[in-house]
Symmetry: D2
Subunit: 407 residues, 4 copies
């Protein structure tokens, strides 16, 4: 195991840190004001105007598409090299990742396209996505079934000549509400008679295709996540797309979903730890300056113990993330599945722990919008469900562990 | 310890249950729709129209002002008798308590008025509050200081002849944003030279007094709590009220705040457990009907263990709440302070545990507005801070415990 | 729910407290010295000589056989009345229960005999047990199978004319090693073809019957529990007893085991809480007198929070135990099964939490024999397995909870 | 961070694994039998005879004194290289470390001697210790004071001409009871007027010096740890040793204690994780073969979740230990203090978690001597206190974290 940062990664860390300090943090207030203004104007899903500027700046600083591992389309970084950059971007979760064209769900979609798209698909979708000109969403989860068991997915994709006909309903298509979102990668059943794990395929569906209807956006603990396009619930009624919109192999949906989630989970985890680090900073600063019962909070043993536990948990989670990243780089996502599952459970829970303690340290300000803590908490809580609930990942880990004791 | 429910309490339980089944639950959807409509209309702090009907119905069924313990103004119930009624009302936290004129912060304010108000003050404020015609707020917490240590409160209340002059800033004045909210009980420093715990007094301040400015409403995990009047941040600039607006004894603010919080905390706790019971029901129903990995969730050991732990924790928290109620009834809030502090810590945490497990069982639906779980969770999380953070209550309990070992 | 202590129970509480203060606590050191002397003499399973004196004293004070609920053979106390007495006795777990003839496993055995024994069986075994003249053990758990699932029990009890022939192996027959232990209640399969829950019966087996061989005593975390007769592993080889030794109905073993465990579990729980209370006292005393980093431990926030959490947890566990006791008294053990299962999980875990914190407060002294904490911890840890592991009880609670959602 | 194992370390891992498989595991039963025989013979502190053979074998395989980092006296391994070897040895905690001359407290003592001893001291004590011919103990903790705050240490070491005169009492001098233990490194106050952290010195005291009296051995959860020389409580009454027995600089005791504990803590942690790995193996094997309620335990969701959590926690703790080791190697123990403190808290708690779950999986067998779980648990529980309780390490971590927020 060698987690040493390459020179390139260290240079980029310095650059990302400078980008945060010089551009992102100073823009946070404006971003929030624009969100409020959009809400007041009845256009909650419009991207705050400042984001366009931030993207120009991110791109001009060479901090663009860093996420794509081992790919010519991206910066050519390994997952391990990207890890600390993703972590830094998580410190300003709402601004930095998108300003670097490194935000979900487009990152995962771009990875899929980079791996599986035909030349035509690349030209039509990957190129503008890499340029940050359009956005995309990913439609897998369905309201009617426990989608954590991917074999439950019921969206029907029938083949009719050279067309696919889609019928079904998806939700939590994050980003679907924003005007720039042009296409969804939709997972559904193309081959209902095939083997359980080979029934599903992924199909590219432009959102302006007839029969695609965005029904509503679901909220997350009171947040509509409008600045990032909300979470679309989309009905598909006799939606027809050419069979050339098939992404990757027919019947490969399950496999591709797994593949998509490997590095994507790592990215989420790193960003979560970045947010946790920022929360710990805020907590320490608050504890050093707020006085109760005759001394600053930082002198109180209980809060000191929280701080120590936060540091310990973050440290361990980061090391596990680095190991998972290093394994993906060296032996591949499949062989790294136990570590990826582990960090998928650990990172959000650690970050939630830190944010909860920070909230408690801040008192009522912590649950309000005056700190990034409450909104950050809500997003992290969702990560205990998104890409599979904790319990499904724990099952997988146990299965691997027990496998070696099979007779 | 005798927790036997009186016949009267049992009759009222039956009535409240019927009120829930026949009136409240069926109204929940309409209430939510009206909240959305108010938001869309740019009037988020208007009370949904259906509430007026619900209040008429609650009053006509004799389920009105049940909370006032040992008082002629109320139903004459003991705290123990009221406990199961409050719990039931918590099952529909947004509707039932207010429909029964038993919702915070008015309950605590009415208690204070019932105990301390002059005849004029009773006539002007208590009578319309008991009638549900107006609403009130309570202004104690300040943004600038750690208000969990009440001696930090800095609002200045100077005496100028027969007037008080208030200067300062309060926040988390819950309910202040709604048009019906007419008065605030404001805590501030009238006697800065007095003994630490006798510097503060409570003063009745009509919200239309010149110099009172509602600056904004703070949100809770993305919820503006608009249907209940939000959480007002209020500045007071040279606000003048007659000294006859003094509520209770001069210098008695600290003592009255403690008194206010005793039964009030119990009410919060009971309602929290009602919400926890409803969440557990929802979780069980979901677990019995949702299938993943080949069986309903209810067959999976991990979820069964959650259910058992929820049941155990709720059961214990309820017993502790009943004991605290019984103690308040029999030996008074002061002697019950350890049990009240204990239940103030236990009940929200238990309810949060149950809601978190319910959310996890529901998956993504759990964090959305499609169940009451996420919003309930946010409200409960706030209770770990409101009326004093957990840590302050734990301090008090330890101090009492250690007192008996003093030399 | 009425947990009010009867006058009789209050009088007995005073008496038990006096017995502890005047007799038991002063005898603890001697008891320990006699245990060491017995070990040094190679007779670790001999009862320390002082126990005989303590029993005389306990009996003379009228503190004898208090445990038998609703029975003429005992003190005629309800389970609720007995609860606080059992708790007090748990403060000196090694001495007080036996000195009052209220210690496991004899209490459970006496209950079974009281309910099911024939006149001959009563005369032969119950009378001397009630007199404290002999001791008994209970042989249910088997080393070869997961005995938490009682249907796994494999001990064979064949009927051969008017004799039973037993073959099999039991362990954790607590008390079997002491010379005074004369009889075991053995559970085994008499009717292998019957319905799953009706295959087993209980048979009285004098320990001097040919074929009964005590193979060894198992230890609990380094403790041999010699002063209470250790934990016997017993082999039964062609052991013949008359069929008149059948205790209760043939095929009734499973039902009787359940019945035995109901009140017995409550007794364990109450004693556990007594031990927890004593540990909390020791912790507080230590914290008030031990100095580190410039102040007594009791001034340190972390330890204060432990103390508060211990108090809260004990308080809740006690209330739940009282409720379970009250339910057994009023609706019977069967209807109280959820609460009994709940307290069986809660009480040992709460007591373990308290003891662990007390150990941590004491430092190295806490893990040694210089305090009762380490030995108490070991005994309590065993209670998370004895009479069914936590997980089995949680399963039962979940099953009951989910039952109401069955279609 | 580069945790890649060197070729040398990988070769040694293979050798240690072979040593375990071929020599150590097969010897465990004999070792236990010899412990029992020693107890029965009244010589509980005699080292089981087989240990001598194991040491010969360990030495002949080149697995000897591997612990000494960066030293010519040892194997010349870095701490990082040694880490996996220490972990492996922890799988058979009672046998392997001593068989490799890598067991506490001698390892720490040898490190001190290697760093600070004069030539005479090296010849007299270090050489036979490195040869495994004698054993040593470390006398720092005192029964009368909270020794976690090292400035509390009160042992008096007065200078009288060319002699030191020691008066005081120490306990938890692990290993002191065994006949081979010849010398103690005693920490005491030589310079009571000096600065708080410069009052103490370390002095070499042969155990046969007049005035040294081993009063007793303290036990750990019922275990006397006799096979490793118990835990001596030693009184020192006018004990005179030449001032040439001063180890290291006068007044350097505090600094040396810190230095001793750095790598020593890492060793403890790695061994703890080895024990945790073995417990997890035992748990999995048990779960795959034990049946309850109709299926093997390994099919039950709750136990699967335990297994997954154990794997995750071990994995994280190991990475943190490797980082701490790597830091000690690259920037020194002082700069690594936060990570060392962190792993000192994490590793024992993780291992305790794993062992507790393993015990629960085994049922009653888990608390007995039939598995290594209970005894392992007791030893690990002690590690939450030895070398400083968790709380002291958490304090240190918080202090470092908050330091960067000082104005």
């Amino acid at each position: 195991m060698d987690f040493t940062h390459s020179e390139r990664s260290r240079e980029l860390q310095t650059k990302v840190q400078a980008f945060l300090d010089e551009v992102i943090y100073p823009a946070e207030h404006t971003f929030e004001e624009q969100v409020k203004a959009n809400n007041a104007a009845g256009t909650p899903f419009r991207t705050p105007a400042i984001m366009a500027d931030l993207k120009v700046e991110g791109q001009s600083r060479g901090l663009w598409n860093l996420f794509l591992p081992h790919s010519e389309s991206g910066a050519g970084l390994s997952v391990l090299e990207y890890a600390p950059l993703a972590e830094l971007s998580g410190r300003s979760m709402a601004l930095a990742p998108e300003a670097m064209n490194c935000s979900a769900p487009d990152t995962g979609n771009m990875e899929l396209l980079d791996m599986f798209a035909t030349d035509e698909q690349r030209a039509q979708w990957l190129v503008p996505l890499l340029a940050g000109e359009i956005r995309s969403c990913f439609s897998m989860t369905e309201p009617a079934v426990a989608s954590s068991d991917a074999t439950n997915i019921s969206m029907s994709i029938e083949t009719d000549g050279d067309e696919f006909v889609l019928n079904g309903r998806k939700w939590w298509s994050t980003g679907a509400m924003r005007p720039e979102c042009k296409v969804s990668i939709v997972m559904g059943v193309t081959d209902p008679e095939a083997d359980r794990h080979q029934r599903q395929s992924m199909v590219l569906v432009p959102l302006d295709t007839p029969g695609v209807k965005i029904e509503r956006s679901t909220s997350v603990f009171g947040y509509d996540d409008g600045a990032h396009g909300g979470h679309g619930e989309i009905s598909f009624t006799d939606v027809r797309v050419p069979t050339s919109n098939l992404l990757g192999p027919r019947g490969g949906g399950f496999m591709m979903a797994q593949a998509r989630l490997g590095p994507g989970r790592i990215h989420h985890c790193m960003r979560s730890l970045g947010l946790a680090e920022r929360a710990l900073e805020l907590m320490c600063e608050r504890a050093m300056t707020r006085t109760a019962f005759g001394s600053v909070l930082a002198k109180q043993g209980v809060i000191r113990e929280w701080i120590a536990e936060c540091r310990i948990q973050i440290e361990q989670a980061r090391l596990l993330t680095l190991k998972a990243a290093w394994l993906i780089d060296t032996v591949g996502a499949k062989e790294a599945r136990t570590e990826v599952a582990a960090i998928k459970v650990v990172a959000p829970n650690v970050a939630l722990f830190v944010l909860d303690k920070a909230i408690q340290t801040f008192g009522a300000a912590g649950v309000s919008a005056d700190t990034p803590l409450a909104e950050g908490w809500a997003g992290l809580r969702t990560l205990r469900l998104a890409d599979g609930p904790d319990e499904v990942h724990l099952r997988s880990i146990a299965r691997e562990e027990l496998r070696r004791y099979l007779p």
